[in-house]
């Protein structure tokens, strides 16, 4: 029983990790439909910047996190301008491949600058909490809380604020958006910047649990793309549900079948859900 509970909490924490990365992508992929495969790269870059800020600049954890968020937001906005904006009218596969090119570049650049070895960010709040006979580290609690907060914030932003609506409007019809007076250039960059900042914040929160390596983004990339489709394109609550579902499938699949096959089970879940609900969990039938 405690094993079950412990796994439950493990799954929640892992779901939080996936959700944090997926939420950053929801904006550019789920809403704007830009298949930004470089997102994993931004996430990874965020982790390295936070690590550098901590180790080399001697900043505190929070300032490191903020610094990394701002820096990655700028990089992401630049990316939108230089790569995705010119490709806005091209078929989907073109920005996708361009994004892969960017990912290759970021990975290689990071490896060149920081080396290929694992790095570690220390937990800002060390220690664990005991709950119902189950232990969980504060960092994981933080990740879970942050993912839920980010989800609520993002959903509010998209559904309730005018800027949120402009992002959706632009993604659905760029010319139409310009006709009503939306500065699509600004909105495009802003959206990427928010997505980048979310990636960096996620990375800074997750890195203490995991290690920092140039390939950490690659590992996440496929999963978070799957999560967004699983939850239903454009749906923020869908993304978070998708994230937790995937985490539960992996953890409990791993526990009751085999950890060797945990990833297989995760993707199998994706395949099964899409076979039954091709539009994802949270999307109305079009």
């Amino acid at each position: 029983m405690t094993t079950f509970l412990q796994q439950l909490f493990n799954a929640l924490a892992l779901g939080g990790v996936y959700a944090l990365v997926a939420l950053g992508l929801t904006l550019v992929y789920g809403v704007m439909r830009v298949p930004n495969f470089a997102h994993g790269g931004l996430y990874m870059l965020g982790a390295y910047l936070a690590w550098t800020a901590l180790e080399n600049l001697g900043l505190g954890y929070l300032s490191a996190l903020l610094l990394s968020a701002v820096a990655v937001a700028l990089v992401a906005a630049l990316l939108e301008r230089v790569v995705f904006y010119p490709l806005r009218d091209a078929p989907h596969v073109y920005p996708m491949i361009a994004a892969l090119g960017v990912l290759f570049f970021i990975e290689a650049a990071v490896q060149l600058r920081w080396g290929a070895d694992f790095k570690q960010i220390r937990e800002p709040v060390p220690g664990t909490v005991e709950l119902l006979g189950v232990t969980i580290t504060w960092q994981r609690v933080l990740v879970m809380a942050a993912s839920v907060a980010a989800m609520l914030g993002l959903n509010f932003f998209l559904k309730r604020t005018l800027t949120g609506a402009t992002i959706e409007a632009m993604s659905q019809n760029r010319e139409g958006a310009r006709l009503v007076g939306i500065d699509t250039n600004r909105v495009g960059m802003l959206t990427f910047a928010i997505s980048g900042a979310l990636a960096a914040v996620g990375a800074s929160l997750i890195a203490p649990i995991n290690a920092v390596t140039p390939s950490m983004g690659e590992v996440m990339n496929l999963k978070v793309f799957a999560i967004i489709i699983l939850g239903g394109m454009g749906s923020v609550p869908g993304a978070i549900v998708g994230a937790f579902l995937l985490a539960f499938a992996e953890v409990f699949g791993g526990t009751y079948i085999s950890f060797d096959f945990a990833d297989v089970i995760g993707f199998a879940l994706l395949v099964v859900v899409l076979a039954i609900r091709p539009q994802g969990l949270f999307r109305r039938t079009a």
Binding site: E168, A169, E175, G176, R178, L179, G181
Partner: protein, 235 residues
């Protein structure tokens, strides 16, 4: 006033507008007549800033409209109901309309009032206010497009075939709404296949053929022109 001088527009090698001259005076309704492919939509897209001209100029009260920045044109009071509607298909009807008032986003009360007027004009949209715009019937979508253009509270309203796909009763309503809006001082440039009705509310008109103005004049003159009558009025 809208002042178009010697305006030319190219699509690659193909020239769609050849040195067009046209004016819309304050408070006027001007109608554009022309066969398919005459260049009406091209003119509208250029005036809205969606298309860059290859020569000539178009100014609204002295400021140029042709900089390729449609978002600026709207804030200067020029609003287009485009061909093809260009709606946001997955957003609700109401969000589509509200976004039409994007340039007035600080003026909440004004937006609410305008929204009420649009719903008054198109009561069919009221029960659809929360439906995604893409799920509406063709004619209902056209209503949303017109409504969205009105929401910007323009000083110059550009309407590219607003009656497309609308039921006769609604066409009538739309045109009378155009008249109403005009009565409040808004200038209107209108393209219509439904030429008789359009000329009925217009002050002046232009006939466009092959990207050139071939005829222009006040309403009654065009209504009585033989060429216009045979080609556009079907009489």
């Amino acid at each position: 006033m809208l002042d178009v001088q010697n305006l030319s527009v190219n699509y690659g090698h193909f020239r769609a507008l050849h040195g067009l001259d046209l004016t819309v005076n304050p408070g006027e309704i001007v109608v554009l007549l022309g066969a398919n492919g005459a260049g009406k939509s091209t003119l509208f897209r250029t005036l809205a800033g969606l298309q860059r001209p290859s020569g000539g100029s178009a100014t609204w009260n002295g400021t140029p409209l042709t900089g390729g920045r449609p978002e600026l044109s709207v804030s200067r009071g020029v609003s287009l109901c485009p061909e093809g509607r260009l709606l946001f298909p997955e957003l609700s009807v109401e969000k589509n309309l509200r976004l039409g008032a994007y340039t007035h986003r600080r003026d909440r009360a004004g937006t609410e009032q305008e929204l009420g007027r649009v719903y008054g004009l198109f009561p069919a949209l009221v029960e659809k206010r929360n439906a995604p715009a893409g799920s509406l019937s063709g004619g209902q979508q056209q209503m949303v497009a017109i409504g969205r253009a009105l929401m910007a509270r323009p000083a110059l309203l550009l309407l590219d075939e607003p009656s497309l796909g609308l039921a006769p009763l609604v066409v009538e309503q739309v045109l009378s709404a155009v008249q109403q809006v005009n009565a409040q001082g808004v200038s209107v440039l209108l393209a219509e296949q439904n030429a008789f009705a359009a000329l009925g509310i217009a002050h002046r008109g232009y006939v466009l053929e092959g990207g050139r103005v071939t005829l222009q004049g006040p309403q009654h003159q065009l209504l009585n022109d033989d060429r216009v009558r045979s080609a556009y009025l079907g009489v």
